[in-house]
């Protein structure tokens, strides 16, 4: 094994560190005879399921939210009508963040542990890539409890399916409908809006204003499918927003009741009726089916293929992806009708991906995952598992915007960001440096990418702690 030529361990380092989430000891040796084949192998078999006892599904989380809201309403009513004695007897009703935060922590920590332990880390990186492509953020309270279940339910099962399946699952998931405000979007000429305006007319008061919210429609076109230069107009956005009015969530009280609580529900009464013309095609009014038809066309569009190919190549090859690679990956998308494994295979087979090791500066998440994997550190439970991500500037499930976390070096290599990483590396070095032989570990996990300068610096360190710090802080480990 140790007589293998250098070129193999460079390719193996690219396969484990750039395509995967970071080499564990032994990973590079294990695949050095055929790094590309090893990646292809990870695409075989069903997508891994993150199942862990105690992780609830979206519907049950949203049901608990609804229950809590009811209890609070009742508690309020009790306070205003009941005697002081009765009010005091009301059990304290917990607030929404107190209910949702532990669910968020459990889910995010399970995800971290899953990623650190994964044998199919390329596939796991792809799951994270799609979660980021279809970003939801826990900065919005409505998403706090369900960002994790969103990934488990809408992303993971489809990561080896077609883009169309993935898209349909995502846009009908309650997390996305809440994050981008579609659950409450109402057609101006919908049944419900017409009823309301008649009532308004009778009693002479202006009722609550209801209408369309175009947020989800715009981001589907701009971020999820065609891309910002994909050739759509404001009129297309507005028309599309009308198409997906009624895409909402089941449950609700009284007249609003309908569907399965906490699951996707097409509320026909909120849907804007009529044919719609957008992106050069006409869609007959088929209720829910109208939106499905638009999404299917979007999934098949050439602009979508290009947009997805560009993002994948940027993530897996270089900040400014070579046009030749993008062309081939986009062609694989079109040629397979968006079959994702075919797209991934084109990516693995792109020669451009194997030319330049260390082409990408790691994001904070990349950095933490690869550290934990290289060092085989036992992961703490709960909030402690999440702390490093937040410290280094990438809190789990909280990209700042619907565009997701950015994916180029200048977004991550600021001086303060770098110093934080180095300080964190030092902390890790001090904690476990005496137990891990850094020189050997660096060679095992960086393979042929480990440079002479770094090798010497680690070898000459004054202590095990310092050696480990230098390994984690090295230019080679900062990049992938």
């Amino acid at each position: 094994m140790r007589y293998r030529v250098m070129a193999d361990t460079i390719a193996a380092a690219i396969a484990t560190n750039r395509f995967g989430l970071g080499a564990r000891p032994g990973d590079i040796d294990a695949i050095a005879s055929d790094p590309r084949g090893a990646l292809h192998g990870q695409l075989l078999g069903p997508a891994p399921v993150l199942s862990r006892i105690g992780l609830p599904d979206t519907a049950s989380i949203l049901e608990r939210v609804a229950e809590l809201r009811m209890q609070r309403k009742e508690a309020k009513r009790g306070l205003s009508t009941g005697s002081p004695g009765e009010a005091a007897a009301q059990p304290a009703v917990e607030n929404l963040p107190a209910l949702l935060r532990p669910i968020y922590v459990d889910d995010a920590a399970a995800r971290v542990q899953f990623a650190v332990a994964s044998d199919r880390a390329f596939l796991e990186r792809l799951v994270h890539f799609w979660s980021n492509h279809f970003a939801v953020s826990v900065d919005k309270l409505a998403v706090l409890g369900i960002a994790g279940s969103f990934e488990r339910e809408a992303i993971r099962p489809h990561v080896l399916g077609t883009f169309q399946e993935l898209l349909l699952a995502v846009e009908q998931h309650p997390a996305m409908l809440l994050y981008l405000d579609n659950a409450q979007s109402v057609g101006t000429y919908s049944e419900v809006a017409r009823k309301l305006s008649r009532r308004r007319f009778r009693d002479g008061t202006a009722g609550p204003k209801i209408g369309i919210n175009e947020n989800l429609a715009r981001e589907i076109l701009e971020l999820h499918t065609l891309g910002v230069d994909g050739g759509y107009s404001q009129a297309d956005v507005t028309e599309f927003a009308k198409v997906i009015t009624g895409w909402s969530i089941g449950g609700g009280q009284g007249r609003q009741h309908g569907g399965d609580p906490g699951r996707f529900f097409f509320r026909a009464g909120l849907h804007e009726p009529g044919r719609r013309r957008l992106l050069g095609r006409e869609y007959r009014d088929g209720g829910h089916e109208q939106g499905v038809a638009v999404l299917c066309d979007l999934a098949g569009a050439r602009a979508t293929a290009r947009h997805i190919a560009t993002k994948l190549c940027r993530h897996f090859i270089a900040d400014d992806p070579p046009a030749t690679a993008v062309d081939r990956v986009a062609a694989a998308y079109m040629g397979s009708s968006g079959d994702l494994p075919s797209v991934y295979r084109a990516l693995i087979d792109a020669p451009e991906a194997w030319v330049e090791p260390l082409a990408k500066f790691k994001t904070p998440s990349d950095y933490v995952y690869s550290s934990f994997r290289a060092l085989q550190l036992p992961l703490p439970d709960g909030p402690k598992a999440l702390a490093p991500f937040e410290l280094l500037g990438q809190r789990n499930f909280s990209p700042g915007s619907p565009a997701g976390w950015p994916d180029r070096s200048p977004d991550w290599d600021g001086s303060a960001a770098l110093l934080k990483r180095v300080e964190w590396a030092d902390q890790v070095g001090q904690r476990v440096g005496s137990r891990i032989a850094a020189p050997e570990r660096a060679a095992q996990t960086l393979g042929g990418v480990l440079g002479e300068r770094t090798r010497q610096a680690i070898g000459r360190a004054e202590s095990g702690a310092q050696a480990l710090t230098l390994f984690l802080a090295s230019p080679e480990f900062m990049r992938r």
Binding site: D139, L180, D181, Q184, S185, V186, A206, K209, I210, G211, I212, N213, E214, N215, R218, E222, V228, Q234, V237, L391, G393, R395, G400, S401, P402, A403, P410, D411, W412, D413, G414, S415, A416, A417, L418, L419, K420, V422, E423, W424, D426, Q427, R453, T454, A457, A461, E462, Q466, T469, L470, A473, S474, P475, M478
Partner: protein
């Protein structure tokens, strides 16, 4: 800047990171320094990411169309309960903007309204790109307008710019070397390890530069936090949601503002700073005089108050521009919020500003006046304001502004008289 002040900085800097042995790192090349900048002007650019609702932040309560268009989102006119803070007959400020209103009265705040960049679509990400790059098309430049302004001033690699955040946003990216700073909970490294990492990076131009910048910035920021007892405490509003939008966010925001002040206070420190705020994308339940947006505005306002007091006398030389990528729809949407629009408000505040006035060519909110029938029509190019600030604060010529800082932007004429002579 005198030789003495630099030497004092070196001593304090070294102490600040507990790394006396490293003071050799800070040769003139690595320290902050401002040789070659004649003016004392300071420029702070606060990016409001997410598209600020200018019609709520600075309500045109005197426009006959306003109340009806906005419905429940409308800010009541001055004098009414929770009413706008009065500016003139037409405009007011959101009732959360108490400090900013005081500055208006003191002649230190100018409201800029119905303004926009040249960008006319409605993507946050492209809109922010244009706001920051200073060119008319998205993704057409890898550098930002503030960095190009610094390039013209950047004698001998002096760090004239700083980004308050872990990473440098586009507006500050480019050839001129800039630093970044953000609060850290992590322990500092010991001298020996730091020295070895510095050596390890010495053949890596990017990492070695970044590390040196970070150490220099930390030293200065540490001084600022030590001085916080001396500065006036922030208004109560800071206990509410800061733009960071999470627990502890308010405290971190204040810490960042104080650090910002400590950078700008120095004679030999940076002259230009950028800070980012987010959470302005109010698609649902935006609120009016109270609510979601009101809380964010209050936090922003309190942060400015803190900046003013922490800057002390340097506030007199400071111009702060607060701007966003575009505005929001003139009418409320179906979910008690507003969707992406076009024209919005911006604010120019600081002791150097010729304030107490509104800079706007008001297009009106009548149906026929709205841009594409839905948005506040932009009648003022934000670049005119940016140029006006840089012209006086950094002493840049019109030729430099029209060709280098904002390439091929001659049609956006610099607005004169924004800054006290």
């Amino acid at each position: 800047m005198t030789h003495i002040s630099r030497r004092r900085f070196l001593g304090q800097g070294a102490l600040g990171i507990g790394a006396l042995g490293l003071s050799g790192l800070w040769t003139t090349r690595l320290a902050f320094g401002a040789p070659g900048v004649g003016a004392d002007g300071r420029v702070v650019f606060i990016i409001m990411r997410g598209a600020l609702d200018g019609l709520s932040a600075a309500p045109p309560h005197g426009d006959p169309g306003y109340a009806a268009l906005r419905g429940a989102l409308a800010i009541p006119p001055p004098g009414a309960g929770d009413g706008a803070l009065p500016l003139d007959g037409l405009f007011g400020l959101h009732p959360s903007l108490v400090f900013m209103h005081e500055r208006y009265a003191a002649g230190e705040l100018a409201l800029v309204h119905a303004a926009a960049t040249p960008y006319r679509d409605r993507s946050h990400f492209d809109g922010q790109d244009v706001l920051e790059s200073g060119v008319s098309l998205p993704h057409a430049s890898e550098s930002g307008w503030l960095n190009r302004a610094l390039q013209l001033k950047d004698a001998a690699g002096a760090r004239l710019g700083i980004a308050l955040g872990a990473n440098v946003p586009l507006v500050m990216r480019g050839r001129a070397e800039v630093a970044s700073w953000s609060p850290s909970k992590l322990a500092r490294l010991d001298d020996d390890t730091l020295q070895r990492i510095t050596d390890l990076y010495s053949k890596d131009p990017v990492l070695s530069q970044r590390l040196a910048d970070a150490l220099a910035s930390n030293a200065i920021a540490a001084e600022g936090q030590d001085m916080q007892e001396d500065t006036a405490s922030a208004p109560n509003a800071m206990t509410m949601n800061a733009p960071a939008a999470r627990r502890g966010g308010a405290a971190r925001y204040l810490e960042t503002v104080r650090a910002l002040a400590s950078f700008l206070r120095r004679d030999d420190g940076p002259r230009v700073a950028v800070m980012e705020t987010s959470g302005w994308d109010t698609h649902a339940n935006e609120g009016g005089a109270q609510g979601q947006l009101a809380q964010r505005l209050a936090a922003l306002d309190a942060g400015l108050g803190e900046l003013c007091s922490a800057l002390g006398p340097v506030w007199r030389n400071t111009a702060v521009l607060l701007a966003t990528e575009f505005g929001r729809t003139a009418a409320a949407n179906g979910t008690r919020g507003t969707d992406h629009g076009t024209g919005s408000a911006a604010f120019l505040v600081g002791g150097a500003v010729v304030g107490g006035r509104v800079l706007a060519d008001w297009p009106g909110l009548g149906a026929a006046n709205l841009y594409e029938g839905r948005d506040l029509r932009p009648t003022l190019d934000l670049r005119c304001i940016m140029k006006g600030i840089l012209h006086q604060q950094l002493e840049l010529s019109d030729r430099e502004l029209d060709t280098v800082v904002f390439p091929s932007s001659g049609e956006a004429r610099r607005r004169a008289g924004l800054i006290r002579a």
